[in-house]
């Protein structure tokens, strides 16, 4: 088997009373786009900081390219291209200076690639970073993250607060990294549509735990969205064994089921309701069913 790009085992991290990561185990396979989803405060950024070696694992182990990122920062960080949500860049530099500065850390830096991106994104290399717009700042950070063709492209909420055009520019670079050379991308996002389009593998975390992990195809195959029609209006939410969630009003209700479809079908029949439609659930629907507030789920809540 190919070596995991990232392998995290049993990592727990507590900030005060808050368990940001709770015995979390997680891995990233090479050559794919891996989407990391979770509500705000689920632990995504804390997880990414462990991958970068910015946080030391207090318990459990973190391996990136088989190495401990805290003990081998040069070897590990040299192979990662990272775009943080805050896009923290040296404000006093000009764009071309940042390119030269980043290059110094990355022997594989490709000048023609960075020049091409500066041109595509219509950036002025002479511009000072502090004077850039939000979108230009993100694109500048993106160039610094991709122009050395990293083995792992790591993006923390890359679309956060950006317009559709800049979001597309960023995702296109992810496609390019993976399509051309079979490199790996890991990105966190709360935009479920984006994750569903872009990911081969998805990990959903909630309150520091992994609640769902697998190839997007398997996750989608394993979750169905059912539309139900009851003979009478339901004044309270009906209970259906095998359903992860149930939302609706009157006699029209929608359920999301996982795997336990037969059990749910029997329960629905027993209630006298009719199933008017069965289809695959979208990632958005799966996410809401798994970690939403509507119904108690199997995870602690």
């Amino acid at each position: 088997m190919e070596e995991k790009v990232v392998a995290i085992e049993g990592v727990t991290r507590q900030f005060g009373l808050l368990k940001a990561l709770d015995d979390l185990t997680f891995s990233v396979d090479p050559g794919c786009v891996h989407g990391l989803v979770g509500a705000n405060g689920a632990g995504k950024t804390t997880l990414i900081k462990h991958i970068l070696g910015l946080l030391r694992a207090r318990s459990g182990s973190v391996r990136v390219f088989g190495l401990d990122p805290v003990k081998h920062p040069v070897e590990v960080l040299g192979r990662i291209g990272y775009l943080s949500e805050e896009r923290d860049l040296p404000d006093w530099m000009r764009i071309h200076e940042l390119a030269r500065y980043t290059q110094a850390y990355h022997p594989k830096w490709d000048n023609s690639y960075s020049d091409e991106l500066i041109q595509t994104f219509e950036l002025d290399p002479q511009q000072k970073i502090k004077n850039l717009s939000r979108g230009q700042r993100a694109l500048t950070g993106l160039i610094a993250a991709v122009a050395h063709r990293p083995d792992l492209l790591l993006l923390d909420e890359p679309s956060s607060g950006l317009d559709a055009i800049v979001r597309q520019d960023i995702l296109r670079e992810v496609v390019r990294a993976v399509a051309d050379e079979g490199r790996t991308a890991l990105f966190s996002s709360h935009l479920l549509d984006e994750v569903e389009r872009m990911s081969d593998v998805v990990t959903m975390i909630h309150k520091g735990k992994v609640v769902l992990h697998g190839s997007l195809d398997d996750i989608k195959d394993g979750h169905q969205h059912l539309t139900l029609r009851f003979p009478e209006e339901q004044m309270v939410r009906p209970t259906i064994a095998g359903a992860l969630s149930l939302e609706g009003f009157g006699n029209q209700w929608q359920a999301v089921c996982n795997g336990e479809l037969e059990q749910a079908k029997a329960a629905i029949q027993a209630l006298g309701a009719e199933i008017t439609e069965v289809r695959n659930a979208s990632l958005q629907e799966i996410f809401v069913a798994r970690v939403g507030r509507g119904v108690p789920t199997k995870t602690e809540g």
Partner: protein, 136 residues
């Protein structure tokens, strides 16, 4: 290739690509020998992971809709015609199923639908004759 991805109805993205390419072959928008976009190009255009396009093309190849020419790209197959007929039938069957389901929900009988279809065929036939005369 104008492919539209929708995340609303839950259909996996690779399946949407497969279905739309087959539809374009069946409707004559893609003809044998035409090249389909390289994986990276289509992935960038649709903003989907390249592996999804790989999976869609592999399935289309297995079904004989496209073939790969080493180092040259992916092309629409020559022997598209039997598949084309089957695909046309499949598309129409799907439409018929939708029509029947909706009609049933509205309380239409099969006879009602047949009458409606005949009526519509007559109307469309007239419109076609008229425009043919005007242009002729």
């Amino acid at each position: 290739m104008n492919i539209q991805i929708s995340l609303k109805d839950g259909v996996p993205i690779y399946r949407q690509i497969v279905n739309q390419v087959k539809y374009m072959v069946a409707s004559g928008q893609l003809t044998s020998g035409m090249e389909v976009p390289p994986i990276r190009v289509l992935a960038e255009q649709l903003l989907v992971t390249p592996n999804t396009v790989v999976k869609a093309y592999r399935e289309l190849e297995t079904e004989g809709v496209v073939y790969k020419r080493r180092g040259a790209g992916t092309f629409i197959s020559e022997n598209g015609s039997p598949l084309k007929a089957a695909e046309q039938k499949r598309i129409l069957t799907e439409r018929a199923d939708t029509l029947l389901t909706e009609a049933q929900q509205m309380g239409y009988s099969l006879d009602d639908i047949t009458t409606l279809l005949n009526e519509r065929a007559a109307v469309l036939g007239k419109a076609k004759n008229k425009s043919a005369k005007e242009h002729g």
